[in-house]
Structures are given as C-alpha cells and as structure tokens.
Symmetry: C2
Subunit: 373 residues, 2 copies
C-alpha cells in the first residue's frame, strides 16, 4: 500500500475525476459544433481541479480558456503559455495591471469598463507579448438580459477603438425559446457587422445540440458539459460522465420501527430498517436538499445496483442511507453516491439545486483522485 493509497483510505469521501472523459467531451463538442471549441475552467474548473483539467485540455489542443477572475486567469497562464485567456467577470479599477502582466483579456461588460480599459491601454503603453495592442472581448446585450453592451453603448465608446484590439464578441443564446433566439441572432449580427473580422461566440453547450442549427460563429465555450453535465436537459446526455463520488461506510445499523437517526430526529423508521452512515455530509458538498422532507421527495444513492433513499437530515460530516433493499454491507466498505447511474444532473434534481452548485461544492473536503489520460 503506497502513500497515495493510504491517503485515499484516510479520506471520508473520494471524488474520482476522469480526465480522459473531459478531453473526450471537449473533442465531441468541437466535432459536433464544427468550429473552435474553448473551455470554461472558472471556479477551479467547476471544482474539479484547475491544474489537471487545464493541462489535459491544453495537451489535447484547446487554445482558448474562459475564467471568471483575473487570479484564475493567472493560474491558467502558468499552465497554458500559448493560450488565449478571457476573464468573464471583466476588469475592475486597479486590476488592469494583472491583465497586462499575465496577458489576459477582459470581457468588457459596460461602458465605464470599456472607458477604463481604453484609458489604461492609452496611458500605460503596455503591449501584448508580441508587441501588438492589448486585447479584450465585448459582452453584447442581445436583448435577453441587461448585463452587456447595447448598440448605442458601443457607439458611445467608438472613439476608444484604436486603443485596444477587440478580439471577441460574446453573447449567450437562449435555447429554450426559438422566437427569442431568432431576435438574439438578429441583434448579434447587427453588431457583428460593426466589427468585421472579429470572432464571435454566441453558443453555450446546449445550442450545439439544437435541431434547428443556430449559427455557432467562430467559437463555442462549454463549461458544465465538459464536466459531464447534460447540455440538453430532458434528452439523453451526449457527454461522457466525468465524476464519481464514493464514500466510506462508518456504521451499519439495524433500526426498530419508530427509531430515528441524526440530531434533528425528523425521520423515523416506519418498520425494521437497515441504514448506513457514510462519511460524506454538508461539508463535503452533499446538499441538505438531498434528504426527504415535507416539501420534497429527497435523493437516492445506487448501492450495489439498488437505489436507496437518503433518510434523516444530511449532517455536516455524514449522511444516512436506508439500505434495507440492498445486499449486505460492511463498515469500511465504500459506496457510490454519484456516478454513471445517479449523475450530477440527477443529484442536482434530487436536491432541488443546479448542477453547477453541486459541482462547485463537491471536492472541497473530498479527496480528489484523477483517472489519468
């Protein structure tokens, strides 16, 4: 038993991350979209580990990365020297230097932001490593939400155009409603006409799989789908599963009718039951919504081929699962809480939260194990 094995035995829960599946998903998204495929790796690559994920994708050929913050961009830069890196939350006052130092491109979201960036580019005389102007993307408001630049905003900042290169026009297509999407595409095309030759990106993962083939332009930027999330809810998931969560069994208990477990005592056994206490709780990213309560049906884990319900409240360090219908289990064994059958999307639906929230919170205390490429 090597050090790594000992450390995994010490872990309460183990999050296994299939790097080959992330790469395969990226390749699928690129093939299906028929255009350049970037990768959204913000928030520590959705909680799965920025370093291994960026390394794997960069080696596979990914050359455009999206993060939320400049400090995340600086980490990507260290791993992907030749990549283009966009910072989706944009640039705040006094942050500009970080962008120049690490060759990051802010996604500019508002008129004051464009003005500040233009001012910085004009006064600092900073240049990209190849001597060209500093670069930025523009988030376009295509009429759906109000968090980007409109046509008249762009007209107001036109005089700043010579100060930096606009290298990407971004917006996000609403995939749930065709009539909205058509208006968005029309608005986007109107603005694209003002920036001839500038690459454009409108599609998230869902748009790539739409039957009506909306224009994907020059770049798609999947996030959740890369990590195995279903980009087309309600239809079979075209992505390969990426994560599996296993937890150690701390105890096996036989309960008599009326017995409760946990401090809150909201759940009581209706008949003789066998439950296990597994070493993964709120602090490991298991959401409180996973348990049965008066408003909500609760979640299930796949234990030896049988779906078994979570009972009692999710505690900070453990969860309790009713395994009466499963085969015999012993303390010290591991059980799968999340994987190919109970997927991230299932887990999120059972807990009544989004899959983004599930991924973001998993793996803070869970040990992460990477399946190599």
């Amino acid at each position: 038993m090597d050090q790594k094995e000992i450390s995994l035995r010490g872990a309460g829960a183990i999050l296994t991350i299939d790097l080959a599946a992330i790469v395969a998903n990226w390749q699928t998204l690129q093939a299906v979209s028929g255009t350049e495929c970037g990768a959204v790796v913000k928030a520590d690559a959705y909680g799965l580990g920025l370093h291994p994920v960026v390394k794997a994708l960069y080696e596979a050929g990914c050359r455009t990365f999206f993060v939320a913050h400049a400090f995340e961009g600086a980490e990507v830069r260290a791993l992907a020297p030749e990549a283009i890196i966009y910072v989706l939350n944009g640039v705040r006052p006094a942050q500009e230097y970080t962008f120049a130092a690490h060759n990051l491109r802010p996604v500019l979201n508002s008129v004051p932001e464009v003005e500040d960036w233009g001012q910085y580019c004009a006064t600092s005389h900073k240049r990209a490593p190849d001597g060209s102007l500093l670069k930025a993307g523009l988030r376009i408001d295509t009429g759906v939400n109000q968090l980007g630049l409109k046509l008249y905003d762009l007209e107001r900042v036109d005089h700043l155009s010579p100060l930096f290169d606009v290298t990407l026009l971004l917006s996000q297509l609403v995939t749930a409603d065709d009539s909205i999407a058509d208006r968005q595409i029309e608005a986007f095309d109107k603005i694209r006409a003002r920036y001839p030759g500038v690459p454009a990106s409108l599609a998230n993962s869902a748009a790539i799989f739409l039957d009506n083939n909306p224009p994907l332009y020059d770049l798609v930027r999947p996030g959740y789908a890369l990590y195995g999330g279903n980009p087309v809810p309600g239809r079979p998931n075209p992505m390969r599963p990426v994560v599996r969560l296993d937890a150690h069994i701390i105890q096996v208990r036989v309960l008599e009718p009326g017995h409760s477990v946990g401090v809150e005592r909201l759940w009581k056994a209706r008949g003789p039951r066998r439950v296990i206490m597994v070493a993964a709780g709120l602090a490991d990213g298991i959401p409180s919504g996973l348990t049965d309560n008066e408003k909500h049906v609760g979640g299930k884990a796949l234990i030896q081929g049988t779906l078994c319900p979570y009972v009692s409240d999710i505690a900070m360090d453990y969860s309790v699962i009713d395994v009466s219908d499963a085969t015999y289990l012993e303390r010290g064994e591991m059980v799968e809480l999340l994987g190919k059958t109970v997927t991230i999307d299932d887990f999120a639906a059972m807990a009544n939260v989004s899959g983004y929230e599930i991924l973001s919170n998993l793996g803070r205390r869970c040990h992460r194990r990477y399946q190599p490429l």
Copy 2:
C-alpha cells in the same frame, strides 16, 4: 499597495475572519459553562481555515479539539502538540495506524468499531507517546438516535476494556424538548456509573445557555457557536460575529420595467430599477436559495444601511442585487453580503439551508483575510 493588498483587489469576494472573536467566543463558552471547553474544528474549521483557527485557540489555552476525519486530526496535531484530539467519525479498518502515529483518539460508535480498535491495540503494541495505552472516546446512544453504543453494546465489549483507555463518554443533548433531555441524562448517568473517573461530554453549545441548567459534566464541545453562529435560535445571539463577506461590484445597471437580468430570466423588473452585479456566486458559496422564487421570499444584503433584495438567479460567478433604495454605488466598490446585520443565521434562514451548510461552502473561492488577534 503591498502584495497582499493587490491580491485582495484581485479577489471577487473577500471573507474576513475575526480570530479575536473566535477566541472571545471560546472564552465566553468556557466561562458560562464553568467546565473545560473544547473546540470542534472539523471541515477546515467550518470552512474558516484550520491553521489560523487552531493556532489562535491553542494559544488561548484550548487543549481539546474535535475533528471528523483522521487526516484533519493529523493537521491539528502538527499545530497543537500537547492537545487531545478526538476524531468524531471514528476509525475505519486499516486506518488505525494513522491514529497511533499522530496520537489521535477515535470516537468509537459501534460494537465492530470497538472490537477492531481493541484488536489493533492488542496486536500492534502501539502506545501513546508517554508509554500509556492508546485511547478512545465512546459515543453513547442516550435513546435519541441510534448512532452510538447502548448499555448492552457496552456489556458485549467489556472484555476489551484492558486493551485501551476510555478517556471520554460522548452523547448529544436534545435541547428543544425537556422531557427527552431528562431521559437522556438518566441514560447517560447510568452508563457513566460503569466508567468511574472517565470524563463525560453531553452538551453542545445550546445546552450551555439553557435556563434549566442541564449537567454539562467535564467538557463542552462547541463548533458553530465558536464561529459566531447563534446557539440559541430565536433568542439574542450571545456570540460575537466572526465572519464578514464582501464582494466587488462588477456592474451597475439601470433597468426599465419588464427588463430581466441573468440567463434564466425568471425575474423581471416591475418598475425602473437600479441593480448591481457583485462578484460572488454559487462557486463562492452563495446558495441558490437566496434568490426570490415562487416558493420562497429570498434574501437581502445590507448595502449602505439599506436591506436590498437579491433578484434573478444566483449565477456561478455573480449575484444581482436590486439597490434602487440604496445610495449611489459605483463599479469597483465593495458591498457587504454577510456580517453583523445580516448574520450567518440570517443568511441560512433566507436561503432555507442550515448555517453549517453556509459556512462549509463559503470561502472555497473567496479570499480569506484574517483579522489578527
């Protein structure tokens, strides 16, 4: 502006942790209980940082720490060489060596666990650093939940008593119902009689503040209350607030009636509104339940003295707050999302989750800033 200041400017959200308040809370709990006060520091000290928290408490005189996992215990051991460290999730097969190596005491929860620990102590000939027997706590089932040892369980493992020292009897008092508490105390005392001279711990933080003064025995073991959580829900919080969460404003937007923000577009402005987009979202531990929806009123942030509602969905990297009733705000400024007015407990109630869940998920991406002692 030093490196640290630059790094904080780079952060989207900053979690400020008042170490002096944690120490003051520990001292209050010790004074009010009139007995030894330990500290629960599992899950990276409830997400606030194991290293600084344990260092501060150890320097203040805390000598008994509780964690959930052996690997957390090993980290505490490195910081607190003379401390007693209990591992609440107990010991699993093949984990025993870690306990002996770092002088950790498992809290034994079941008969098989007691048997395995006894067997290990008998066959390994491992000893505590002072040459005495290895040690363990016993979790007692006092009739409330079924996750500890009952009297007849203890009788079954009596022959193992010479193999290790039992140094703590633990259970948890139900504070919401006096009749249950009385039965628990009776059951606990019956078991204590079997272990003369062995310290006992029955009280969580709430019990310390109960008017009917339940017996606190030899050790109290607060967790959430140390970190500023209210141990007596519905009554004024006797603890000092510990955490504050501030986030940078990414954008300020004026919306016309009918405008929406965010991708989901579930929220629409009913009149002319001014909103801010702040750089803290799901991936920073802002729970999705904080926003208004059909089932739930949603949360508010204290912006310049005015409580302002979260609107639209919480996105992965940002939240949107309606600041129409606040004074003028600018992009780049910081706003307080959590602190003395909107406390952890308020935040949890607004999001319909527990305070434990809030603390556990904050600070994964937020930068942590410590107010020194």
